[in-house]
């Protein structure tokens, strides 16, 4: 099942690669954007559920029961469920779309890395996923200054600067900040806020570390994915610029 899914992803990636004149860098970017477009309904649903949950947690009713039953966890949970039911909110409504997207994202990573077969065993593996396409091999993995199958460094005055990893950190940070709600914090004791802050801090560095050490094709995917997400939020008017530049007026709808 998983193998068939990866095979599909690899063949779509190779189809795009061939269609655009055998440039693997652009193939990664286009494929990433396509996957983002296809999974947009899931992203939108996740955002909607998160927003509803955020509003609920900031409501007076919610905060009142937090205070009232703070020493009685069982009743608190029961009351919370009642409020969810009353307001038609599914507590895990924002998790499910994320869980569905997760294998798609992992599959996309795997497709990119497997297609960039640069050693015999990797090529053996790739050959099991493609029916035809021998003429596309070897994949042209040169893109701008990068060799997509290797970690990227741009030599400047003799020093290899990891431009891609830096861009991954920056775009990941902007993306995480931009999609966080203004003020970030539900006032339920700050749990959500702490979680958001931790994500904002750690996630860009984790992504940057991966981009620094793994093949640069992955780093390119991260940047394309981050920019696609930012664009998606901007188009739908959900981008929260105030988290990045607090002096800006709020453009949120």
């Amino acid at each position: 099942m998983w193998d068939a899914f990866i095979t599909l992803m690899i063949n779509i990636l190779l189809f795009i690669y061939n269609l655009i004149g055998q440039n693997f860098g652009w193939a990664i970017i286009i494929f990433t954007v396509l996957v983002r477009v296809v999974t947009y309904p899931l992203t939108a649903q996740q955002t909607k559920s998160s927003k509803a949950m955020q509003e609920l947690q900031n409501s007076k009713k919610w905060q009142d029961i937090q205070k009232k039953y703070k020493d009685d966890k069982e009743t608190l949970a029961q009351k919370q469920m009642e409020i969810y039911k009353e307001m038609g909110i599914k507590p895990f409504g924002s998790c499910l779309p994320l869980l569905i997207q997760f294998p798609i994202i992992i599959g996309l990573y795997q497709a990119i890395i497997r297609t960039l077969a640069v050693t015999p065993l990797q090529l053996v593996n790739l050959s099991k996923h493609i029916n035809d396409g021998a003429n596309l091999i070897p994949i042209n993995s040169q893109f701008w200054w990068m060799e997509l199958s290797e970690p990227e460094r741009l030599p400047i005055f003799g020093i290899g600067i990891p431009i891609l990893a830096i861009l991954v950190v920056i775009t990941s940070y902007i993306q995480t900040k931009m999609i966080s709600p203004s003020g970030g914090a539900p006032s339920d004791g700050g749990q959500g806020a702490q979680m958001t802050q931790a994500m904002t801090l750690y996630m860009p560095f984790l992504m940057g570390y991966l981009a620094l050490t793994f093949a640069s094709g992955l780093g390119l995917y991260f940047i394309a994915s981050n920019l696609a997400t930012i664009a998606q939020y901007m188009i739908t008017g959900q981008a929260n610029f105030k988290n990045i530049l607090p002096k800006l007026p709020n453009f949120n709808r």
């Binding site: 992992i106 990573y109 015999p120 053996v124 003429n135 091999i137 200054w145 984790l206 093949a215 992955l218």
Partner: protein, 365 residues
């Protein structure tokens, strides 16, 4: 943050990191299969970060090189002797060619490919060694010619990576180098100048061609074809269509030539015409040339078995082996040597009855 949420958060990060790690596997993704060379007493092979010399008699390690692994440096190409037998040449997956003493495993010299900001030079297959020098094909599309002291003589660039060793032709006194750019190049060994270049052979070529005394060069291609070229006319003499990519080198045996594909089809063709004589499908992909020994043909497959066939195409036996056999069998003295992948052993020696006499896990494994 509650304890539960902290655990959940860390778990998500870990899963993401591990998920990505699992996808990419290795950082610079260096992975091939073991290359093996043997003389009458010792077997030399490379696998991963080190190369080993092992007694053919009992599988006891004599030395390993380097003594301690060097981060990011792997060896998979078979070590090869220089013509005088004084040096063992070992090419790495990361920019370097090493000369070591066959007796002690101590380094004589090493050559480093000039650093390129983008691409590493992986030496996937072994260099060709001769009195004229050392000719090492690299994945950065370049054939490097060194003298026997490790000094660069010349370089030759093709359009795509070079995964196969060059071969020497007595007829034209030149080198033949195949490339993933679909071409075969005839090069002057002294100067590296191009003598001639074949027409587009239709697909990438990743294994050394076979050459006959009569001047027939036989090439396996990923275009599901085996093609015989006439060395004198440089024209195609015959073509044979396989069911899938022809990865392994052809092997000439008398008036027959054995070819195969990655779907596991093994064919015996008439050398002069390319007409099929017989075909078997022993099961499992075939990625390396077979071995002919004592009138029998030994074929490695990636389904954990060594298949033994007679020269009429009748299967004589099937030797199960732990792991996958991408590398072809090698003859060493009276033994048959196998280098399985995904196995607890790096090397297995079988006696004439097919019984394992020793396996080699290195002492510190």
């Amino acid at each position: 943050m509650t304890k539960m949420k902290k655990i959940l958060f860390i778990t998500i990060l870990a899963v993401l990191a591990l998920g990505l790690g699992a996808c990419t596997g290795r950082r610079v993704v260096a992975a091939g299969w073991s290359g093996v060379t043997a003389d009458e007493e010792t077997v030399y092979f490379s696998y991963g970060p080190q190369a080993y010399a092992v007694s053919l008699k009992n599988g006891v390690q004599q030395w390993k090189y380097p003594a301690e692994p060097i981060s990011g440096v792997d060896f998979y190409a078979a070590p090869v002797f220089t013509p005088d037998g004084e040096q063992l040449i070992l090419a790495s997956y990361k920019n370097e060619i090493h000369s070591i003493s066959p007796d002690s495993g101590i380094k004589n010299w090493s050559y480093s490919v000039p650093a390129d900001s983008r691409t590493s030079a992986r030496f996937i297959d072994s260099p060709l060694t001769s009195e004229k020098g050392i000719f090492a094909p690299a994945s950065n599309n370049t054939l490097y010619a060194l003298d026997l002291n490790g000094n660069l003589l010349w370089e030759y660039q093709t359009e795509d990576p070079l995964w196969a060793s060059p071969i020497w032709s007595e007829n034209c006194e030149c080198l033949y180098q195949v490339s993933m750019d679909h071409h075969l190049y005839a090069l002057d060994a002294e100067s590296g100048s191009l003598r001639w270049k074949s027409e587009d052979l239709g697909g990438p070529i990743v294994s050394p061609p076979a050459i006959t005394d009569s001047g027939l060069i036989i090439v396996s291609t990923f275009n599901n074809e085996v093609i015989a070229l006439n060395e004198s006319s440089q024209e195609v003499e015959w073509r044979f269509t396989t069911s899938n990519w022809a990865w392994a080198s052809p092997l000439v045996n008398g008036e027959q030539v054995y070819v195969s594909d990655i779907s596991g089809n093994f064919y015996a063709l008439e050398l002069a015409t390319g007409d099929i004589l017989w075909q078997i499908q022993p099961g499992g992909g075939i990625y390396d040339a077979p071995l002919v020994k004592d009138e029998l043909i030994y074929i490695s497959t990636d389904t954990s078995s060594l298949v033994i066939v007679n020269q009429e195409g009748v299967v004589q036996g099937n030797q199960p082996v732990e792991g996958k056999l991408y590398a072809g069998p090698i003859s060493g003295g009276d033994k048959l040597l196998l280098a399985p992948s995904e196995s607890e052993y790096y090397l297995i020696a079988l006696n004439q009855s097919g019984v394992q006499t020793w396996g080699f896990p290195p002492a510190d494994k």
